[in-house]
Amino acid sequence: MTTEHEHCYVVDGKLALPYQYLAGRVGSKFIVSLRDKKQILGVKCEKCGIVFVPPRQTCEKCLADLTKSWVELSDKGEVTNFTVVRKDDKHHPRKAPFVIALVKLEGADTPMAHIVEGIAPEKVAIGMKVKAVFAKTPTNTILDIDHFEPI
């Protein structure tokens, strides 16, 4: 069978989804603290001893309620893993190429994903020490930490 391409077109479209994201009580406290105090908060499960950053309502191991177990974290940490984003997308927070890393803060047991800047992507390495740079203007999102940069 022959393939005929005459009259065949590709039409560009957009699928728009009006969307509402609620950060919840725990998430809101985390974001508000970043935004107003430039302080990263986590929660600590007293039973398991695990410090979760970003904070969550319930311990994933013992299901304890962590909503009243807040701890303040350092703004410094270590890259535990990373990826280089090489394809642009309008929903990405930066133009490609840029680095999304997992950063485990000092005192935390779980890493958080964030942007690492101020270093060429090919020089980013696991174990690298980084420090949070807070946003100058509030965003009401996790981007109230603008990015992490090498120390």
Partner: protein, 385 residues
């Protein structure tokens, strides 16, 4: 008393008399009966006649014009706007007997119930008085402080201070060192710092009987009262975004031919070789016979409306991601030459919305610049219109 959303069923009926709007009751002569089931429920009869209302808490609901049976929680929810009345009715949570149209009129009868603002009460203040006592400022002190507080929320208390301890008694003592006489509202305002004591004394709103010198040390004897809900309400973060995903739609050859024809101001359908059905826009395969359809024919451009839709709630347009302005009209048009089930869907001219009916003849209005898209036709308009 059972409460729902912090409100009891009684609260709503007890305030009805005050919320009654005679102007909303003009010409009405009816008995609205309510059978509120569940905890905190009961039966109420509302008689509206000659621009007056009578509200009775009675089990005798005989002679009603309309009777509503609903559980207490749903009733309170509807009254304060937390529950949609129509959905409560259609889901069967609320049952109505008699003349339903009276229920539709009932919102005009009463001003909306607004829950009373929860303020600090005199009782709240006395509940924490002893724990707010500061013994370090009461060394060697032996005094009694009487509180004679008027008004609905008022009462009489005496704080007995001796040996570095404070005991609160109800009632007054004739031999109190000092006695404050004040209304409940002013007392709360004084404690919260909204009313200056000197101003209150000057205006005669606060009277102090007894040893005025002793009165001066009273403020030091107790720590400041802070309302239980004084903590700031937590800020909750909500993000509202329009997530927009880029899409690519492939036309295929058949739809592509249709779009190409639009550039030339032509509308083409294709005709099934088996059943003779027209398809518009054309498809590769007949939706009924599953055979390939290669026979194309120009139809229209005029036609007859078979269905009109007035759109008041628009979902986003998948081509632009934008939500159209409402209201707008869409029409299904049976273009001249097509078989009866082959209608074509498009917009109706805005000006024709509301004065066009099914069966009217319409014609397409073409875009000046056409690039082979469905919007090469702007909309359909009435012929000779």
């Amino acid at each position: 008393m059972a409460t729902y959303f912090g409100i009891a069923v009684d609260d709503i009926f007890n305030t009805m008399q005050a919320r009654f709007r005679p102007e909303g009751a003009a010409g009405m002569d009816a008995v609205l009966a309510y059978d509120i089931t569940g905890d905190g429920g009961g039966c109420w009869k509302i008689t509206v006649k000659d621009n007056t209302v009578k509200i009775e808490n009675t089990d005798d609901l005989a002679g009603f014009s309309v009777k509503t049976t609903v559980d207490a929680e749903t009733f309170v929810g509807i009254s304060i706007g937390k529950v949609d009345g129509m959905s409560a009715f259609s889901s069967g949570k609320m049952k109505v007997e008699g003349d339903m149209s009276l229920l539709a009129a009932s919102p005009r009868l009463f001003n909306r119930f607004t829950p009373p603002k929860k303020g600090v009460t005199v009782h709240d203040i006395f509940a924490t008085l002893v724990e707010r006592f500061r013994p370090e400022n009461a060394t060697d002190l032996d005094m009694t402080i009487g509180y004679n507080i008027g008004g609905d929320d008022g009462g009489q208390w005496t704080a007995v201070i001796k040996d570095g301890k404070c005991v609160l008694e109800t009632g007054l003592r004739a031999d109190a060192t000092i006695t404050q006489i004040v209304t409940a509202k002013d007392f709360v305002d004084l404690v919260l710092g909204k009313l200056d004591p000197m101003v209150a004394i000057g205006a005669g709103r606060l009277r102090i009987a007894g040893d005025m010198k002793a009165a001066g040390i009273v403020p030091k004897l107790f720590a400041k009262f802070t309302p239980a809900d004084a903590g700031e309400e937590q800020e909750l973060i909500v993000l509202k975004r329009n997530i927009s995903v880029n899409m690519k739609y492939s036309t295929g050859r058949h739809l592509g031919m249709f779009l190409d024809a639009l550039k030339e101001k032509k509308i083409i359908a294709n005709i099934c070789p088996k059943c003779g059905r027209y398809q518009l826009p054309p498809r590769e395969v007949c939706a009924e016979c599953r055979c390939r359809v290669e026979d194309f024919k120009e139809v229209g451009p005029g036609g007859v409306i078979t269905l009109i839709e007035d759109v008041y709630y628009a979902s986003p347009d998948p081509l632009t991601g934008e939500t159209r302005e409402t209201p707008y009209g869409t029409v299904h048009v049976l273009l001249d030459g097509c078989t009866p089930d082959c209608t074509f869907w498009h917009f109706l001219k805005n000006e024709d919305l509301g004065n066009t009916k099914e069966g009217d003849r319409v014609q397409p209005v073409w875009a000046e610049k056409r690039d082979g898209g469905v919007h090469d036709i702007l909309y359909f308009e009435k012929e000779n219109g």
